[in-house]
Every structure is written in C-alpha cells, then in structure tokens.
Symmetry: C2
Subunit: 402 residues, 2 copies
DNA sequence: CCCCATTTGTTGTACCCTATTACAAATAAG
DNA sequence: CTTATTTGTAATAGGGTACAACAAATGGGG
C-alpha cells in the first residue's frame, strides 16, 4: 500500500513526467545488479541524453552510482554501469509475530544489513508492550535520531499478523494477538519521532512483496504467496502490484472452504483450508500437542529429518490438503508462480512431491505448468525485507522528493 | 487484453504525455453521462487551458461533443458539458456460445444499437461454420465494408466460451465447443476484411468487463464476475484492470475444489465447484434431463415461477453450494462487488436469500459486507457489450491515433 | 438599472523536459 | 595509423502544459 498523493491526479504534466521517468529508471536499477545507459535507453524508449540526465539526477541524490566504464571486448566507447547506491540510505523494519518480534536494517538493494529477534510467549498482549519491544530491538541495532551508524533511515515498516487498513496506518484485526482497530503507526511514530514515516502491512502481504521483488518470485507479473503459522494467509501480486481488496482482507487463503464435512474453523465456518493445513492441523495429525506453537513444529521437523514414520505420514497427508487449496489458487489466478512461505517453507522438502503430483492431477491444465509452486528464497527475512519495502515506497514513487 | 505497443516503452515523453491525457479524459467521459471542463480540471489536476485543448481535440476527432452551456443557478459563466459522441463510431461484437451465436452493433457509450441471435443445437462444431454464422448475422445487422449504416466500425470483438491467448488472437481451448488452438481472429479477419481489427475474449472475462464499465460493477476498482452455463467461469477486475493470468486461464472458478467427497468433474478432478453449481448439477438436482441445455433451464425457471416445491427445494440447495464457492472468492479477493452473470443471473431471484444468509455465516468478516453479491444488470447483452469493449480498446488507449 | 463578485473560456507567453543533431571520447578491426 | 563503432556531452529545437491576463456570462445587492 504505497502512500497516495494528497490529490489523486491522473493527468500528466512535465514535472510529473520527469518524476515518472526517474521512478521507472530507479525501479529498473533495483531489478538488476547493474545496468548500462544503453540498456535503459532500450528499456524506456527515451534518448541517450534524457537517460543521461535522469541517471545524473539519481546519482546526485545519492540513490545510484555509476562505476567506471567496463571494457567488454567489442568496439565502441565502453559503457558506464549504473547501480543502486546501497550505502547511504536504509529502512528500519519490524515484524510483530505470534511467537515474537524482530527488527532489521535493510538497504535499497533489499539486503539485510543487521537484524535482531526476541521470542515471546503466545497469547494476548496489548500493542504498547509490543512497541516497547520494537524500541528495544531498534536500540540494539544502533538506531538513534533517524540514523543507524552513518545510514539515514528513510522510513519504518512494520509487518503484523493481522489485517491492515489500505493506508498502512491501522491494524483492523489481529485475532492471534487479540487486537482490534489498533492505530499502530501512530504508536510507533510516537516512539521513533515524527520525522520518520511509519507504514504497517499484513505479514503475508509483505512476505509476498519481498519474494516478488528480491526472492523466488522475481520477474513474475502474477504471483501468489502462501504463508502460514497458526493462521494461513497470503499475498497476491497481479501485474506487478499487490492486491489488498476493498478493506485489506484480500488473501485470506486460510478461509477458502475445501471440506464441507470438515472441522469448525476459528472464523466460525466449517472446513476452511486452515483447519486442514494450519499449524494446529499438522501437529494434531502428527500426534503432537497442538498448543505448543513453533517450538513443536521445529520438533516435528526434527523428527521428520530423523525418519519418524508417523510424522512422515502426517506430512504426506498434510501435503495432500495443501495441494487442494493450491489447486484452487492456481485455477482462480493462473499465476506464473506460487511461492510458499512461513511454515510451508519449512515443510516444503517433505511435502513437495505429494503436492506436485496431486496438483498435476487436480489443477486445470496443471500438467502443462510444472514447477509453478516453489519454496520461498528469503526464509525468515522475507517479512522484514517486505516491511522495509513499505518504508521505501514513497522514495520509489518519487525518487528525488525531499 | 488491450493491444500492446510494438515496443513496450515505460518512459514518458511529450507525445506520450498528451496521448495519456487524452486517454484519461476520454475514459472519464465514458464513466459519466456528461462532464464539465472544471470537473475534468479537478479530476486530472491539469489547467483549464490544457483541458480545453484536450477536449477540443477529442471533439475534432469525433469522439466527444460539447453541448451548449447550461445554466445551473449559481453565478459565474455557465459550463459547457462534454460527453461521448455516440453517433459516428461503433464496434461490431459477436458471441459464440454453446447454444447459439449472437451479434450486436455497440456504440462508444456501451449502448446496443441493434442485435441478432441464432440458436444452434449443442455439440462439436468446427470454427468455420461458426464464422459463417457470424457473417450471416453481420449481414442481418447491415454490415458492409467497415460500416453499418453511416457508422464506421472501428473493430470487431468476439466473445467465446473458452480460454483465449492474452493477445486476443487464438482460442487455446473451448471444451464445450471441442476446439483446441483455433486462430479465430484470423478466421474472422479473413471474412470481414483486413481493415478491421479483430479481438477475441473469453466470455466470462468480457462479461466482467461489460458489467464493470457499464453495469452493476460500475465504479468498483475490485470486482469479481461469476458466469456459468454448462461450465462455470468468471472474470477478475483488480484496480480497474482485468486479470487473465499467465496463460489466460485465470478465473476458472468452476474448478475450485469445494467437496473432496464430491463427483468427478469434466476436468478430471473430484468435487469442483462446477459439479455442484453448474447447469447439469441444477437440472439433476431438480429431477430434469441433464442434457437438455438452456431450454431445460428455462423450463425449470418457469416451474419455479409457478411454485413447484421440488424445484424450489433444488434451487435452495443449489444456492447453498453457490454460497460455498462465493465465500471462497470473497475471502480470497475481498472484492468491492461480486456480479452474478450467465445462468446465475437468471437464478438469482430464487437463490439470493439462501446465498446471502449462508455468506453472512461463512465469509470471513462477511457480516460487515451486506450486498456485496448482486445480479448483473446487463443481462444477455453483457457479453456482447464486453466484446465491443475489446474492439474499442485500441481507441481507448490512444484516442487520436489513425 | 448598474456595479460587483464569481466562474468559465480564450489567448499569448513562460517553462519543463525530452528529442534531435553534432561533436568528442574511447575502444577494436583492419 | 585509419576507419568503424559505440557511448557521452552539449547546444538547440520542439511538444505540451503552466501561468497570467483578459473576455464573457451569469447572479447578488443596492
């Protein structure tokens, strides 16, 4: 949910034209390690002089660098290589999960420069103590007065396990934290100073954002991200943009009804996908204590690694149910790629075969789309990198604004 | 699937800037009966002189008219009203369905000026005889040499019951017509002359397009359209744009798995939504001959109208299954509106109460979203109006191109 | 009836930004 | 050493909107 201009103008004029071109070139620099001006000419359709001027401005503002020209063996004047300047700016990102909180400093290349985590017991906790935790983690990372070391923090992004308003300011509801209508951005702003903008995002949405920009989904225009711990949710990328729906509730994949004879879900319905593939379903299926959280899941994975037959059977059955919901998503979206995050990322090695073979049988035209479901590549950092992207978004939209 | 430029440039320059502004104003004219220049200034952020010049150009090209200024009682110079010129241009649109073919002449306001239909018995038919039918219908409508009467036909759009390549040129597969990889646009072009561009679209996708631009979904940024006859499919509008997925397969709502203990579907899976809510499921549930097509559905509706208890019971059960799949779509997309088209439009009066009350219980946060599911407003014309939009799309993208 | 305020339309010039053209620089090929 | 090729830079041209001023057309108020 990038911030919206105070006046949603649709008309283009000279100054917005240049801003748009700066943003486009900046975005192109972020999808490649380095780029020549000629490649930018090719990609944008602008002339060499226009691209030169635009690159010059990004360099002047400390967003890009142009290295010395590199000889590549063909004749003609060598090209200078432009790339993102990963040194001067960073975002501070946080994650408020069910099992703990985390923080990271992330640069413009999506690289985690430093991070910190703290476990917390599950259960209802007010927002303020969680924000206290965030302050503590930020201090651990060396944050002070809008800076970390000699990097300027351009914004703060927070991933939370709940639904968020589309302006990224309030948590509408987070059932597993037992929050309802929490002005989280204001709470964080109050502690970090009004000079740094704070943006909140749903944890699955920002996981999708990260895997799309820097992870397994890179280069895809249409991507589905499935994440899950206690709850199962997801993010949707369509034509390169995230979909959040009219109230921020899009991506509630855990509540797809897949089994009319199934169990009662926490949402009150019967047979939601979450009741078959969530954390509690897995632990129950494997004969573990369903209330022991992530620690129990780690023990289950350890048992699987050691070849425990009951656990492997449970995982196979789990994979079968995963395939049912994934078939639904594939038939509805026809995505280029489906990225499995959260707990599913951890399970992937044990369920991939079952999921893949079941999908080949159950997805419409699925036989023609091998490899469409993959594990995420950013692991535990995905949500932190995604939250940083929320913080960077105003800069991405208008690279040379104040 | 609007046509793509031969060179996908992302850079903006003066000439593309003006084209973009012309397109934006043209689009605004199409969403309102008439608009003042001041309203366009407000909406676009451009100045009065820029808007005046842009409107002047649309008028010069015969795309808009500016009526005499209207007195509205407040002081100040009265405003001229600009509106779409619905007189000089039109699109020729066709629909190739399972039970027949149809054609229409549609103007820039989305108004059907004239239409013609022909029923056909079901079953496999080669594409060529279908195109013969289209030529016959076009002749009936008075089409000759790129004109109908004194209206110039700017393009031809064809809705077909199957999946279509994203460039709108080929039918990848249409199971109920038993087509596979048919170059339909070329076949139509060959009969109507190379001077008129032909664009093909999936029938549910174009139904969604029509209801979004001119029907029940007007004004929504995020809309789901559910259509169905033998097969059940749908269209997805996200941030105002249609979603077709990587291969044009998006919107296969009929193949969402909702019942692991259900029937074998035509696609080979078990318990797809289509097996519970498609035409055959309804006819079987009501004790009718499942192979008698649309005529049987009409007889069923007549029986319901007369209060046949068995039929009303069947419809209630049908509504329950409709609600299950709709709950899935609502949880996945969080759409502003879901529009029911095709057969579901016909059934709506008999199933609305069951669907609405079941959704209130089964959709995540559904209680807070009354009225999100509605019947379509364009009825049988939806697909024809939507196909016309495919034909108009190049003009919408660049209003003053040749 | 006249003057004033307000809103909209038109016109001429200023300004922003890229396009175009020409030239310079830096290479490899012959 | 010359030529060909590719890229960078600089000066000017050109497209299109912004800006400012003025004109036109209304209603309000005295």
């Amino acid at each position: 949910m990038g911030t919206t201009a105070s006046k949603a103008t649709k008309g283009v004029r000279s100054e917005t034209l240049r801003r748009s071109n700066l943003a486009a070139i900046f975005a192109m620099l972020r999808t490649a390690p380095s780029v020549t001006r000629s490649e930018l000419v090719e990609a944008t359709g602008l002339t060499r002089s226009a691209v030169g001027s635009l690159i010059g401005e990004l360099v002047e503002y400390g967003l890009a660098t142009e290295t010395g020209a590199q000889h590549d063996g063909h004749r003609g004047r060598p090209s200078a290589m432009a790339e993102i300047d990963g040194t001067g700016l960073a975002a501070l990102s946080f994650e408020i999960g069910v099992d703990g909180v985390a923080a990271a400093v992330v640069n413009l290349r999506g690289e985690v420069l430093d991070d910190a985590r703290a476990s917390r017991t599950r259960g209802p906790v007010a927002a303020e103590p969680k924000v206290d935790d965030l302050v503590t983690l930020a201090n651990l990372l060396g944050y002070a007065n809008g800076m970390v070391g000699d990097r300027r923090i351009v914004g703060i992004g927070v991933a939370v396990a709940g639904t968020v308003t589309s302006d990224g300011q309030r948590v509408v509801m987070a059932p597993n934290l037992q929050w309802s209508d929490v002005p989280l951005a204001d709470l964080v702003s109050a502690r970090f100073g009004a000079g740094v903008a704070v943006t909140i995002g749903n944890d699955a949405d920002v996981g999708a954002l990260a895997e799309h920009r820097f992870g397994a989904g890179g280069g895809a225009n249409n991507m589905i991200f499935v994440g899950g711990e206690i709850g199962v949710g997801g993010g949707i990328i369509v034509e390169g943009h995230r979909v959040h729906g009219r109230s921020g509730f899009a991506g509630e994949f855990g509540h797809m009804p897949v089994n009319p004879s199934g169990d009662v879900c926490g949402c009150g319905s019967i047979g939601c996908w979450e009741t078959e593939v969530g954390e509690r379903a897995l632990l129950r299926r494997a004969g573990f204590d369903v209330d022991s959280g992530d620690a129990a899941v780690q023990r289950l994975l350890l048992a699987a690694q050691h070849g425990d037959a009951a656990v492997l059977d449970a995982l196979a059955e789990h994979g079968g149910w995963m395939a049912i919901g994934l078939a639904c998503l594939i038939n509805v979206f026809d995505p280029e790629i489906v990225v499995m995050g959260g707990m599913f990322n951890d399970l992937w090695r044990y369920v991939e075969d079952v999921v893949t073979s079941d999908l080949a049988r159950t997805s419409f035209g699925g036989q023609e789309r091998p490899g469409v479901v993959v594990a995420g590549r950013l692991g535990n950092s995905a949500r932190l990198i995604g939250a940083a992207e929320l913080a960077f978004q105003p800069l991405l939209n208008d690279p040379v604004s104040a």
